[in-house]
């Protein structure tokens, strides 16, 4: 396995996440796309930590752990906002939440 194997997998995950965020019309599906993007970032951190630094240096893995923590916090707040929006509008389609639209 080379570094490029991991980078290609991560690039594909990132692109799929972007695709989900761009095309899906459901807030929870968009959250899933964001989770895919964050996973690809963490995979990149771990891969670079393995291949580009000496083996005893594992700072990249720690950054990836912080990334997981941030993803968890983000998911919790995201779902709280979704619940509040659902209670207010009765829908979680982003294009129907347009109270501020001019």
């Amino acid at each position: 396995m080379t570094l490029q194997h991991y980078l290609v997998i991560s690039a594909i995950l990132f692109t799929l996440g972007i695709f989900a965020v761009l095309t899906r019309r459901n807030a929870i599906s968009i959250l899933m796309g964001i989770e895919l993007i964050l996973n690809s970032c963490n995979l990149n951190f771990a891969a670079f930590s393995r291949f580009m630094t000496p083996p005893e240096d594992i700072s990249g893995q720690i950054i990836a752990i912080f990334g997981i923590v941030l993803a968890a916090a983000e998911a919790a707040v995201f779902l709280a906002i979704i619940l509040a929006i659902y209670r207010e509008f009765g829908s979680i389609r982003p294009n129907e939440v347009d109270t501020l639209k001019g």
Partner: protein, 173 residues
Amino acid sequence: MEFTLTNFIFYGFALMTIASALVVVTVRNIVHAAFSLMVTLFGVAGLYVFLQADFLAATQVIVYVGGILVLILFGVMMTSGRLEMRIHIERGQLLLGGLISLMLLMLLLTVIANTPAWKNLTDDGTELPPTTERIGELILNGPFLLPFEVVSVLLLVALIGAALISRKEVRDE
């Protein structure tokens, strides 16, 4: 590249990750998408094992599969009526989004293939000691102590914020 068992398992995990991620972004039923996301997260955990990041793999399984995925399923349960289960997609948006993502993928792959510093870095197969002890040392007794404390405050803020946003509004009398 010779065909060994390790390579076989690696490509299995890679294929599992990418195929299930494809299902996540294309399938219409949101519950199916959520369960497919679980397979993707397990696949990424397997790739972490190949990178000899054992603690990271365990954290991935516990936090993502055990936490975030359950949270997502709860969100689906609480917000989805019968109509909302099916994800609505517009054709024009699908085309435009697909085009943009494809161009982005081409760009990323070109960069990955042409960066000289990233070439010929093979996994030499040396087995590293378990990382848990060193991670604990670096976080609690090393350069990552301050980020660790900041992240703990952030988690507390997210906890309070999520509870505050999602509770029912109480009217003052």
